[in-house]
Symmetry: C2
């Protein structure tokens, strides 16, 4: 049987949530990835060393051996230098995540002003101690499809002020963001699985499809094609972050549906299929297992590999109450 | 108590559906409007004189006195000249409605080629006999937010070939469509209630809101503002058509939600509130009771008037299984 084998990949952006959901979704990531950067916009949020330690332990309980959660803290208007530095030194946080106010799930306590002095003290300390700044790059008060592009102005100001602060612009969706990242030395970007597949048409172009709805919203076909192109080109500033974000079915299929796509169960199988289909399978290992580690200045995963076999399966309509990405469709590759 | 009184309005675009829904939704239109142009994309579709007569009778059964349904037939690739002319002469149809293939609810049997010879024979006969062509103006294979603008090229070809064929471009959503209608003598347009309120942000800009989802999808704030401006300017080529389109709650809040907004229950109350808020209440009667009749070359409603009183009410969360537009919100005006 045909197989595909590579260095065990990393997921540089994942939402594990909390409580039951945490327990149920962690294994889907852990069985494919060596490491995952775990987002801190849980309820309650992860903001200091104690939160991180507690959450990391829970994650470990559910992941089994051989998986390493990489931890982040969430930034607030009133986050302090001390808080972030302690989370880094004591709890091993490698990144702090900034959500603009109100921009997505659990961001109602997000940053209102990226130029505030207190926040800039935090940025300065992160710059000095090489702690990554991860940013959900959308300007919340702009028209939904313009938000990412409009945020680039904000990002530009941060990079000018903190030229050595390393930044990851998360889950980018536009040609504008790609161009910005290409020319800005201290900014890299994650790209999700679903943004390589979807355009706005897959959400509101026919039937309304809540399970394709996430923030940032998928954009135009030209934007999606630009994402594909940059990923296939092997540009090392663009690496994989699934942004896998489970919501219970009832929280998606309702009058006010939540943003987020649960892609963990199909992540590597669908990536292999997608890269193979586009005759770029040789680029997948760098995208998922090299470029991210390099940007984060971490060693690549040397000891462990991942094997997939070409055995088709139908993605379940529902996994533990959550409708996964690609539900009901056939995927050609299975995790061995 | 403050009142508002005008010539009884017309709704130049409404979906009554069939069966139980027909019975349940007709009264909401009939209690406000003197006449409504009833769309033919029912299941099964209304395509000939017999269909029209049967459907008109049903509508009358449910509407009570004082309401006149104005009838349409749906055009197909294989519609014949004879079929359309008989529907006009025998069943009194005043318009034929063209849906591009696959563009919205029940359009899977829509027109695949607007330049086909058979269809152009139909258009020529409609031109000669002054039967209106109503068009859902979207190019189905374009990106969802470009579809209306891209369809203008198709419309342009129709108007060149049939310069005397009167056309209504239905439920327009873009500045591009407004500009096209303004400069094209034989094309007018309907504007809905909800497109005066919504932008894409109200569908995918925060939570996903299926009850704000319709085709054409609401566009950018600049587009919505242009719709408001043209309506407030009193341009007689732009008149009211609600496109009220009920779907059962379960067909909206699901994995593949239907397009359509049920606005009939709030139509005139919310229009009065909206025009009043914008200090343009004096423009509402023309928009709802004059310009449409003029374009269709029908007399205005002389005998009947509509009165609203300023008495706030909360729009119900659900009306006969359907979530109406503005559900749960307060409207200032009530129908007397």
């Amino acid at each position: 049987m045909e197989t595909y084998n590579q260095r065990r990949p990393d997921d540089w952006h994942v939402h594990f949530r909390q409580d039951d959901t945490l327990r149920q979704v962690v294994p889907y990531t852990a069985r494919q990835f060596a490491r995952a950067l775990v987002m801190p916009n849980t309820k309650p949020a992860i903001r200091n060393a104690a939160d991180v330690t507690r959450y990391k332990e829970l994650t470990w309980n559910y992941s089994g051996q051989g998986f390493q959660p990489l931890m982040t803290v969430k930034l607030f208007d009133d986050s302090t230098l001390q808080e972030v530095m302690r989370a880094h030194r004591i709890a091993g946080v490698i990144a702090a995540k900034a959500y603009p106010f109100g921009v997505t799930t659990n961001a109602d306590d997000g940053i209102t002003d990226f130029t505030a002095p207190r926040l800039n003290q935090v940025f300065a300390a992160m710059e000095e101690h090489r702690i990554m700044l991860c940013v959900h790059g959308e300007k919340p008060d702009a028209y939904c499809l313009d938000r990412e592009e409009k945020f680039l102005e904000v990002l530009c100001r941060i990079t000018h002020r903190h030229p050595l602060l390393k930044i990851v612009l998360e889950h980018i969706t536009t040609l504008a963001a790609i161009q910005f990242v290409k020319v800005t030395p201290n900014v890299a970007a994650t790209i999700t699985l679903h943004h390589l597949f979807l355009t706005t048409d897959d959400i509101i172009g026919g039937k309304l499809r809540p399970h394709n709805f996430c923030m940032p919203v998928a954009k135009r076909p030209e934007d999606r094609d630009a994402l594909r192109e940059v990923v296939f080109s092997g540009n090392k500033k663009f690496f994989f972050g699934s942004d896998s974000a489970p919501h219970l079915k009832g929280d998606k299929e309702c009058a006010e549906g939540c943003a987020g796509i649960f892609s963990a169960p199909v992540a590597m199988p669908l990536l292999v299929e997608f890269f193979e289909e586009h005759h770029r399978l040789e680029m997948l290992e760098n995208f998922t297992a090299t470029f991210g580690a390099q940007w984060y200045e971490l060693p690549r995963n040397e000891s462990s590999r991942l094997t997939l076999i070409k055995r088709p399966w139908i993605v379940p309509q529902e996994i533990r109450g959550v409708v996964p990405f690609y539900a009901g469709k056939e995927v050609q590759w299975s995790i061995a």
